[in-house]
Symmetry: C2
Subunit: 389 residues, 2 copies
Amino acid sequence: MSVTFAQGFRAAGVEAGISAKEGKKDLALVVNDGPIKAGAGVFTVNRFCAAPVQWTRNAIKQGRVDAVILNSGGANSCTGTKGYAQSQAEAELVANLVHTEPQYVAVCSTGMIGELLPLANVLDGAREAYAQLDSTEQAGVDASHAIMTTDTVPKTCTRQGTGYRIGGMVKGAGMIAPQLATMLCVITTDAQVSAGQCQAALAYAVDQSFNRIDVDGCMSTNDTVLLLASGASECEPDPDEFNQLVAEICADLAAQIVGDGEGSSHTIRITVNRASSEEAALACGRAVAASNLLKCAISGNDPNWGRIVSSLGTVPEDVAPYDPQKVSVAVNGVCICDGAKPAHDRSEVNMENREVQIDITLNSGEALATVWTDDLTHEYVHINADYES
Amino acid sequence: MSVTFAQGFRAAGVEAGISAKEGKKDLALVVNDGPIKAGAGVFTVNRFCAAPVQWTRNAIKQGRVDAVILNSGGANSCTGTKGYAQSQAEAELVANLVHTEPQYVAVCSTGMIGELLPLANVLDGAREAYAQLDSTEQAGVDASHAIMTTDTVPKTCTRQGTGYRIGGMVKGAGMIAPQLATMLCVITTDAQVSAGQCQAALAYAVDQSFNRIDVDGCMSTNDTVLLLASGASECEPDPDEFNQLVAEICADLAAQIVGDGEGSSHTIRITVNRASSEEAALACGRAVAASNLLKCAISGNDPNWGRIVSSLGTVPEDVAPYDPQKVSVAVNGVCICDGAKPAHDRSEVNMENREVQIDITLNSGEALATVWTDDLTHEYVHINADYES
């Protein structure tokens, strides 16, 4: 259902000839028909952010988003003033089509860095997408297909609130790191909420979800997460419920990204328990999630806890105070390291399922945090050694 | 020639039955016959440091090292008080053999984390190595073979000073990160220098070499670099020359580690030029060196500069102030990104040679730094997915 689950939105996904992949939909359009057109966004913090990010980050300051144009097949990143002009041209065309101002149009791109878009194709595609705009389930599905790159499946999610709906789509499978990911995400709701409510809900949700996943430790130049509200349900939501549902949507979509991590054969869920603070738990979880050696071991079905504690040991003491001699590690429920010493033999751990649950207990407090990553496989190297080359 | 190049040292490498690999030498002994027996060391900063590191870091405080016992086939890391007792037992036996005190014996181990050593084999091996101690070239070669793990070649280096000699051996191929690496290194000299001189020379040399290489971003629990001086040449070296030669030895051995990085097909040399400070240049170089996406692209012979600038863009502005719009990137001498925009087409870059030189110019100052890493290949995943499992 994706972005058309909520009332007041139309979408389309078309083949515009931007992507090198034959027959692939590569341009999506999402239009907010209102009555209200509140919008909020969270973006990559990469200093080399792409032209569409520069454009949209500025546009979103108005708190209003009437439409979003997204393309795969090219990131329009590190393309200088010409690239920025392309993003602007996209916004101007879409504004013209939907009878609004360019500053109310968000632009998202994903693909190869350092190449301009085939602008004529993009603009022709935008016109075609506009002609095909629909509020059907299929229209939402088409849009979610059009933003895929190395994704093997489209990623969408919906939640039914009390009197209103929320739905979303995301793309992303590689170049995924904490502090966002190479991902484009559009979430729509027909709840009657302000841009400020959207921004607050989104900031919290992203912090708890997309910022806690790590496929390969690489931060993108194009990450964009947008939340658009139409108010079409005429329902003013309970703020707590609304925030919770936006958080659930983001968590669900983030899990889908990790579940589709490039070449991955295992999803690794790392929970750091009994830490002195959530920040300490997060820092430890991220250090472990970033270990290539652990990720390789897991792809070989080996719960090698030496790879876990050696990563944990790189977190500075002022960031995460704990006594190494009190640290325990369990994998899939089997305690294989107790007090920094071997416990159960790691051959007792069942590694058959895709999901691997690593529980690290620091015994230095009461806080906890969970991060997600993938294993590192031959297929990941293959995908990224041969990417566009 | 390794550790027997300098006068006053004997060495041996024997097959003690510690390693699972049939017929592999796995225990080395290096003995300093004096007349002086100065020693200095640099160790991993991992909070889960191994028992031999705990032992040796404490022993080295005396400034005297009479002998070093090293083994592959087991790291004796995260093995609790039993593991520490094993390191102590090794030192006691060697002290007994060479007629000194245990606190003057350094202990180094490398291999799997979380398993005790087969102590009887280690002690029998130490006795055999003692019986075979020799100052010949072959004895040094044998020792360098005995410390290899996933290394495909032994790694040694020598330098002739004015009236004295320096030689060394190192092991390491994976789990190599800035701030040391999974590496054991023993350097010997017959120069007449104090423990303080050794420590100063070694600290500088390690900072400029082993701390600037990164095979896989993973920090070990066992890293140890030792410098032993016998004074047998009776030559008091010029301090600058001595420091310089120790630095050259470390740089040479560090380059050998990267040249033998697990599964690697390219060595990547990253120089960050015109930075505001050396620290800024180093931070940028390390961020780029840590990118799995870049490392995969290079293994596919693709100088994908988008992977370079997107990594560069993750370095916080307060760490490395620069204007992204003024950044340029050259690979193997071809400028492919100028002012954050495409320059020469990357197809013009010749990627045939093993070494790939990446030059990043920040245009924000006059400082520079170089770091080294390897590409990420199918073979790396294979080695680490199937490691000891």
